[in-house]
């Protein structure tokens, strides 16, 4: 079991190499002249040459890659093309904002999703239909449309939450939470429906399974069949789906941070993309990948704990 687990962690770590490599070598296909787009078309040849020399852009791509990688291993992600600040200084302070948003969304789509899934699987026809309808709409409304609707309703029409902006928890915990409510809902909504669907399908499979039939025929209560046996057997597949949704939510966070003007990794990535500030995007790609790897490992741990076949073998 331990060996199996170590292999899976190593497999996840492969991502840490693959993602930066892919994003780095995308530069090879780029028709954009970095120096020109950063410095502007009016910059003199000398300024461009100095810029390229200073940032090592006159070197071949492979040399730059090796250079970037050796520095990255030591925690140095290079400097921004636009303001020459170290990349980790630019994105470091923004990590907590993104984590607040993403972890908040993770909690919401897990808890609400499982709750709705159980209701849908066990409730009567009416509850099932309502959850079905909400799921269809939930999967269809894109997060950016939902976000604008939420702002229209709960920031403008009924000014309960701020429309945009972020307050650090160290400044004011209440306003920090309040500033996160709408972004978290917008980001989590699609995940809620996906988790609910998976929970319901898995529970229904379990309720229709031969062991449920046998347990029931031998006297087990319906309560136990649903809330003990079906729920427990649904947990493994639901956790697996959580991992997939989480990766999607990480991508979604870029859009949501843009809409709500949250100073997180996503909005920085967006800004840097528009400014052709590749080292910053590269650094954020690495941070995102680290988050994915950590979550993958956590999900592996959870799956291992939840699945007796893996745990004991």
């Amino acid at each position: 079991m331990i060996k199996n687990f170590v292999w899976r962690v190593l497999g996840s770590l492969v991502l840490l190499v693959v993602v930066p490599t892919v994003t780095f070598f995308l530069q090879a296909i780029a028709p954009v002249n970095i120096a020109r787009s950063v410095l502007g078309l009016n910059a003199s040849e000398e300024t461009v040459a100095a810029f390229n020399k200073r940032l090592g852009l006159d070197q071949p791509l492979v040399v730059r890659y090796v250079d970037w990688l050796t520095h990255a291993i030591h925690g140095d992600l290079g400097v921004s093309y636009t303001n020459l600040q170290p990349v980790q200084n630019i994105i470091g302070p923004r990590l907590s904002v993104s984590l607040s948003l993403i972890v908040g969304a993770l909690l919401v789509f897990t808890l609400v999703g499982v709750l709705l899934g159980v209701l849908s699987a066990t409730g009567g026809k009416v509850v099932g239909s309502i959850v079905d309808a909400v799921s269809t709409v939930g999967l269809a409304v894109p997060s950016f449309v939902l976000a604008v609707l939420l702002i229209a309703a709960f920031a403008l029409q009924f000014p309960i939450f701020p429309a945009t902006g972020y307050v650090a928890p160290t400044v004011n915990t209440g306003r920090w939470a309040s500033s996160l409510v709408l972004p978290v809902i917008a980001l989590a909504f699609a995940g809620v429906t996906a988790v609910a669907k998976q929970t319901r399908d898995q529970m229904m499979t379990s309720i229709a399974s031969p062991y449920a039939r046998t347990l029931r025929a031998n006297g087990a209560s319906e309560f136990s069949l649903i809330y003990k046996h079906a729920l427990r057997n649904a947990s493994g597949p639901v956790v697996t789906v959580l991992g997939i949704i989480f990766v999607g939510a990480l991508s979604g966070s870029v859009v949501v941070e843009g809409i709500f003007v949250l100073p997180g990794l996503g909005s920085q990535a967006l800004q840097s993309a528009l400014q052709h500030d590749l080292p910053v995007i590269q650094g954020i790609a690495l941070y995102f990948t680290i988050i994915v790897v950590i979550v993958n490992v956590l999900i592996d741990v959870a799956t291992t704990i939840l699945n007796p076949k893996v745990r004991r073998s």
Partner: protein, 644 residues
Amino acid sequence: MSSLTEAIATAEVGGSRSVRFPLVRDFLRRPLGVVAGAFLVIVVSAVALAPVISPYDPLAQDLARSLETPTGDHLLGTDRLGRDILSRLLWGGQISLIGLVEALAVAFIVGIVLGLLAGYLGRFIDLAVSRVTEIVMAIPGVVVLLMVYSLTDNNAHAGMITLGFLSVPTILRVTRAAARSVRGENFIAASRVSGMAGFRIMVRHVLPNIWGPIIVNTAVLAAVILGVQGGLNYLNLGVTPPDPSWGGMVADAQKSLALQPWLIIPSGLLITLTIMSLALVADAVRDTLSAKRSRSGRRLLVAPTVVAAEPTLPVDTEAVLSVRSLSIAFSGVEVVRNVDFDVAAGSTLGIVGESGCGKTVTASAVLGALGPTATVTGQVVFEGLDLNAATRRQRAAVRGTGISYISQDPMVALDPSFTVANQLGELIGRHDGTRGRNRRARLIELLTLVGLPNPEDVAKRFPHQLSGGMAQRVAIACALAGRPRILVADEPTTALDVTIQGDILGLLRRLQEETGMAIILITHDLGVVADLCTSVAVMYAGEVVESADVATLFAEPAHPYTRALLASNPIVAEPGTVLRSIPGTVPSPADWPVGCHFFDRCPVRVDGCAAGPIPLVAVLNREEHEARCIRADEIVVAAERKSA
């Protein structure tokens, strides 16, 4: 060889003709899917015709008429710069739909080619493709997209093609799974034997068989891509203002939200409805391809419809269980008809027949395990209580204590997530109301009772850590937890090794002697019947065709079906005679003949057999031997004469 290929080809064509068009018809019967499909057709046509039908130039400003709600001039109103919303939606749709097609085309082509290669060729390629897929799925796609937009100066096509590559796993996984399952089918193997090259097999045979799931997943993927693309456009990625795009219009609407909330409606609703329509079409196609699943799990636990009926025979008051005139239908088709039998306390009744004769459905009716799709008539009287007429609570009280159950495959009869101690303990707690040490003592007692040599150790194990024989013993212990009067055993030895089968039958016999419970044994194996049963009911195509005590049935079988079963059983058949299989198959319930159900396969049929329903009558006027055959007496007499 060529004739084989031809036969396959013909079967293919015939198959697709008879299958595909009803599918289209089925789809058209789903109103939601049809409406959604029609909406998509309208949106796509309108967007394609934008240059013709668009009322205004999408970039033309009219600051005098900014932020208007719908008017005759501007059907959907105007934005902050007085531009016509409808025109911008139509033109903006072109960016969206062209991008969608680009992304889908990449995902589709790359996904199908790699999926076919991985699924069909397997081995090394499959492994490599799977690993790469896992990695791609774990990449937060947005950072790659940002990089691409940044490096291509915000090029829409580059972005959507990248999105297509990031979406490849969706299509690839479906194709791979479908190709793998098709690969194992006979006609593919036949094609390979007949010398068709691998690639041609894939294109000609695999692809036509996997289009269904691929269509479903393409529609779902299209919905996802539209959402992602909208988000990117909202952020001005892949589109340059003032050029219109659906996502960009949502961003415009947000800027004027406080002044004119209406603005969010046209663009937001159009995106949402388009995505929803794609999802609904996918749902409708999926439901058309597979029988629609029940929407609620609890309904699986709901009792079937019960129709009250007067019993034709008086209930046997001596018996612990009396079944009278039991008929069961699923959606109007009768699968079990007029079944009567009695089970005396401590006796064993064997219900025998081939697959599809209604044995298991009959047992399910006794257990009260039929779902809401079943309609049940007749009586199942357990200790004076008609279970069909009983309340939910009365019925529940009988489960486990009155009547309990062991199933065919012990490996799936136990919940894989809990230990033996947990699930058996749960049942003990429910029946005895005990906890802690008392419950534990009973647990060990039961595990010992079913002959497990090391009960403490077995209790700690999970089901996957048990052998088939051990699992069946644990399952029997679960069935005994409530000290039942009757144990229903559905093919309890079929899934086990031959060497274990005898052990389990011996265990059941011993338990019956020790506890005095009755057993209803469902089996197709007359050897098992001879071993364990006191009386037998032979079922054929939903009816009891012969019932007798076990000695009579083996000595003087009266129904041609019983005789055929005996002749085909290696254990029961007389040594030296040729084993004969029964030609033909059991007719399916919808095809039951009016007369004798065995007519088509019967070696001694006469014209009178097909005329009308055959009653179950006493053989040679003996009270305990009945057969549903008009020549029963004749058959028994002839057999006696022959052996004499």
